[in-house]
Every structure is written in C-alpha cells, then in structure tokens.
Amino acid sequence: MAKHINVSLIGNPNTGKTSVFNLLTGLNQQVGNYPGITVERKAGVCKLPRGVKAHILDLPGTYSLNASSLDENVVIEVLLNKKDKDYPDVAVVVSDVENLKRNLLLFTQIKDLDIPTILVINMADRMKRKGISLNIPELEKTLKTNVVLMSARKKQGLEELKQLIASYKKLSIEPCLNASSIDKPYFEGLQKAFPNQSLYKLWLVITQDVNFANINRNTIADASEFHTKKKSDLKRLQQKETIKRYQFINETLKQTQTIDVGSATGVRAKLDQLLVHKVWGYLIFFIILLFIFQAIYDWSAYPQDLIDNGFAWLSEAVKGQLPAGALTNLITEGIIPGLGGIVIFIPQIAFLFLFISILEESGYMSRVVFLMDRLMRKFGLSGKSIVPLISGTACAIPAVMATRNIENWKERLITILVVPFTTCSARLPVYLIIISLVIPKERVAWIFGYQSLSLMLLYLLGFVTALGSSWLLSKFLKMPNKSFFVVEMPNYKLPMFKNVAINVVEKTKAFITGAGKIILAISIVLWVLASYGPNEKFSNAKEIISQNQPQKSTIELERAIASQKLEHSYIGYMGKAIEPLVAPLGYDWKIGIALISSFAAREVFVGTLATIYSVGSDEDETIKNRMAAEINPDTGVPLFNLATGVSLLLFYAFAMQCMSTIAIVKKETNGWRWPIIQLFFMSGLAYISAFVAYQFLK
C-alpha cells in the first residue's frame, strides 16, 4: 500500500466543503496560490487509519466541470492531468443535503473521469428540520459510489470518511450514467479517433480551454477520421448533456429521497423578507456597516497603541543593550520601526476579516451583493465591490484583499485599482493639521464649521473619485468580461467558529508575509537615506550648529542639529532636487522631503515636517505655529496659505503614497504592471489637481 495518497475535495460553493477540509486537516494546512495565477490553493495533511497519510487538496468551489472562471479551470486541470502532482487517487465530492439535486450534477461528471469517488452528503443535521429522508443503500447502488452522511458542524461522519479514503482502491470507478448517448455518432467517432483516452476527458478537452497529456483541442480538430462541430453546436450539445444528467438525477432522487414539506420550517423566507427589503434591507446593511466601521476605526486603536508603544520600548531596550554604532542604529531606527509599521496593521486587518468571514459564513454577504448590484453596476463595478470600497476608509490593504470575493476579473481589477482613493485612516492626521492651518475656524451655519465641513468634503471626494475612475476604467479596459451575474443565495447559517478563526489567521498571515517584506525593505532604504549625507555638512552637523548658534539651550541645539542633518542627508538633497517639480504646486523643498518620505506611508508627513521645522512632535500647537510662520521666499506670503493648503489636501487625497498598498496590489494582481499603472494614474491626478488648485487660488 502506498505510504501517502492524494485526495481532492470537490464541491459546489456553499456546501460546507471548507468545513469538511478544516475538520480533516485541522490547523495542519497551507494556503498559497497555484503557480502563475491568483487562485488560492489550500492543501493539508490528514492521518488515516493504518498509518496512511493523506494529502488533502481543497479545490475551488465549482458548479460543474464546465469552467467559466480561473478557479474552475484549476479544478479541471487537476482532475484531468494524470501528471499533475495534485492528481487525486481519490475524489471526495461534498454536497449539501438541501441542494442535493444541483450538487449531484457535478458528482455525475466526476464519476465519468475514472477516478475513485466518494459522495459526502454534508449538513445531515438539518435533514430532520427540513423533513428530508434518504435511502442511502439505494442511492449508493444507483450512483455506483459510497455515500457518507456527514455533519461538519456536529463532527459526525468523519471517521467513516477517513476509513473510506484509506480503502480507496475498493471504490468503484464506473460512470453512473452514459452521457454520450446524447449524440451517438459524434461520440463514437471521437472514441475511434482516440481509442486510448477516456471519452469524457476528450469531451472536456473539446469544450473547455484545458490541455491534458499530449492531447489538446487542435490535435482533436486535426484528426481526419473525426468530424468536428461548430462552437454553437457544441454549446447545444453541452446543454443536452446537462439535461440528460438532470434527468438521471431527478429519476434517482425520486427513488431515494422523500421531502416532507409540511415539517420543513422556513426561516429563510422570513429573514429574506427583512434583509433584502427595499427599505429595511438597506437600513440594516447601513447599520451593520456602521458597526464594522466602528470596530475597525475605534476598537483597533487600543491594540494599535499597545503595538506602537511596544515597538518604541523595544527600540529603546535594544539601544540600551547593544554597543552604539551604525548597525545598532539600523536595527533600532530602521528595522524595528519598520517591523512595527507592519504589525500595526494587524488589528485592523484581523477585525475586518473577522466581520467579513462572519457575514460570508452566515450567508448575508450574498444579500448585500443582491442589494447593491444595480447601483454599483452603473460605475462598472459589481455588487460585490461594495465591501472593499467601504473597508477602504479604514485601510486600503485589507480592502484590496477583500476583493477576492469578486469572481469577475475585470470588476475585481477595477475595484482593486480604485480602492486606494477612499479616505483611509492614514490620511486623517495629514488632513487634520492642514485643515487647522488654512481653513478658518468660523461656523457656516448652526453647529457646522468650515473645518469639519472640509473634512467631510474630503471623505466625499474620495468616494466620488473612486466611483468616477471606475466608470472611466470600465470604458477603457478592454478585457473579456463574459462572466454573467449569477449569484447563489445560500441558506442562512450560524457561522462556525473554527472556519472564521482559520480564515482570520490565514488572511493575517498572508498580509504579514506578502506585504511585510516590501514594507520592511523600503523602511530600511528610507532610514539609510535620512541617516547619511554625501558631504561634511551632514557629518559635521554638530560642530557647524554649535559654532553658529552657541546661545541655544541643549534641547534646542539638538533639534537644530537634527534639522541640519536632515537638510544635508541624501533625502534632504532629494527634496531640493525635486523642488522645481513641486514649486508649481506651491511647495518648498521641505514639503518635498515630506512628500518623498510619505511615499512610504502618508502619516509620516506630519512627523517629517515636525523634524524639519525642528520642533517636538508631541506639541501639536508648536508645529502648527512654526508651519504658520513659514514664509515662501519667492512670494513673500506665508507658505501655508489657502492655496498651498488646498493643493496639499488634494495631493494627499489622490496620490498613491502607501508602499503597503502597492505591495498588496502587486501580490493580488500577480505582477508589477497594475500597481505601476495605478501609481502613475493616481500620482498624475494628484499632481494635476494640486497644480490647478494652487495656480487658481494663488
């Protein structure tokens, strides 16, 4: 007997396939991508009786073997290609007892592939409540398979499934119906041309865009003794195949399944009446959103403060332990704060995915998609884009990750590209200080002041720009967009703790390892640029300042030295170098430095300006006063006037200044192409609008 066997879990979405996977593998699983595509690959190990080890692969959910998305293509390739390292020794088809009719369609297709197959009927604990009873022995006989009644929620049927997997060699590989009878001459010809191949596999190669072994669609078309068909004829034949399979399934279920409608309880209909109601549905969605918003925005502030303080403490502690020198500085001022910059996002990401997976597990997410589809479609998005757009107000990183729910690649890409326009929490400190500098404090009407109205306007601007650019992108992006909108509305279920927990852990881990590496690298580069200078004006900063301004107190002196160092560091010279470029926007070289350093993260803006204007960053009032006192040498008016202020606000509203977002977009789109286009589009828009605003208001 083989020491380990390959098991593929296959099933429709919403059948609890992932619950079965989690039950089989526990935390013993790895999540990655299939090579070259962004389809999630979930695999795990399960110990079976008699010392057999099983490699379990959780294939993406699919309704049939007729692929209409990348996810479904993966399923076919794994199942067809015997040379694939994932090619299963045994296929486990997971179905939902309440949707058995539809779930069996996929099962009958798998049965045609010569792979030993087990049918798991999941959610068996709901049978009684729904008045369903099944004649299992009869079902096994007609379907030519072994059936396991299972309840992943109640952990029933697990041992039986493990036993069956272990003795997979005894399982039948016989098809349960003869689908080729829909067009006898055609299939006989096909078999004659390729006598060594399974007929159903050949049929899949013809109708799908997959290759296996050394046969592809063209070699079949070239076979002379075989007459090929037109595409529309093939589609008609596929429809015939589906009808044929349904006939078989309906007949089988008539013999083996009885549903007592009287004893079924309809929670679904009652909940739906409320949750997709034309008024209440939207109101409830709005309240849920407020709640999630509150959690991400407010509750995660506490762990974030802890993390912030923790890393500051760690820096200090390490500094005390290690001998002074460049390496220590790199560790304490570059690497540790860089790591802190990654870890600080964990609470927000974890909270967001906690709520998203609860909403998904419960079945509510499909209702939101239903409610929002019409509105979002006007802008080239899908109903499914609403969740990422709203989470973007907290942070674009989890928002980009949340787009994975959108199956249509074009709609998903557009969502990823426009999400960074929504006003994320990192923009807030920048907005607050600039608004307080340039917008008058007076009230417009009642309790509303100019300042709070400006802030609200900036949030609105973010949303409007996101929707506007997605409308533009949908007009210009030419890509196959043939996935029609079909959304299954699953039953409402109480979320399973284990599934939610695993999902939150996996998503958070993916963020740390994926985006984390790049954030860390750029933090180190920025630290080096700010800590070293090309000439003695940097290295002798201490002497120069002490000589020129000997009357100052020690603290003032230290700040002046820091300021001198920054001015003559590499990043300082970079600020000077880009001054001609930013002057038309109303900025001097100091703001230029702030712009460069806040490429890493927007919130760095305030900190950098604080250092440049050599004041302690803890006293907000003083930074503001210093900034307010700054005079533009060219125009002679205060540097931070209305024109510069509005110009800066617009720049920060539009510019892509967040390396974490760039990193995650690169990861989610599998390449540099889209993040670079996004960077140029957003920065271009930022530059032009800031330029127009400054020149107009000057």
Partner: protein
C-alpha cells in the same frame, strides 16, 4: 408575444418553456434553469433588478437582461 422570466411578478410561479442557450451562461443551466422546471420569483431589488429566484430548488439572483432570455408559462 411570448412571456419571459423578466415579466414574472413577486410571488408568482411559472414553468420554463424555452431557454435562449447562446445568450445565457451555462452556469445558469447547470443550476437547474432548464425547460420543464419550475421557477418562482421570491424577491426583487429596486427597479426589479437583480431578481431573486427559486429555480428547481436552487436559490439564486440574476440580472433582468438574462431573465429576458428565458421564456415561461405562468401557472
């Protein structure tokens, strides 16, 4: 003038008589949207799109333009 699924009222049921195969996704057929099967309109979003249906026991939502490709007979 044939009746299509798009004209179904909330709560009404019908039998599917014809499906314009070339204009609708195969996925919909696979979920049971085939001639002879029963369909019920459960809910509609504002402006009656998308439509929330029960087709042959499957609960799903489709957009109106797809519903126009499915002919029905009211029961």
């Amino acid at each position: 003038m044939k009746t299509t699924l798009a004209e179904l009222k909330r709560g009404q049921s019908a039998i599917i008589t014809m499906v314009e195969t070339d204009a609708i996704p195969l996925k919909l057929l696979e979920m049971g949207c085939l001639p002879g099967n029963e369909v019920t309109l459960l809910q509609v979003a504002p402006f009656s799109c998308p439509m929330y249906l029960n087709i042959n026991g499957s609960h799903l939502a489709i957009r109106k333009e797809v519903a126009r490709q499915i002919e029905i007979e009211l029961i």
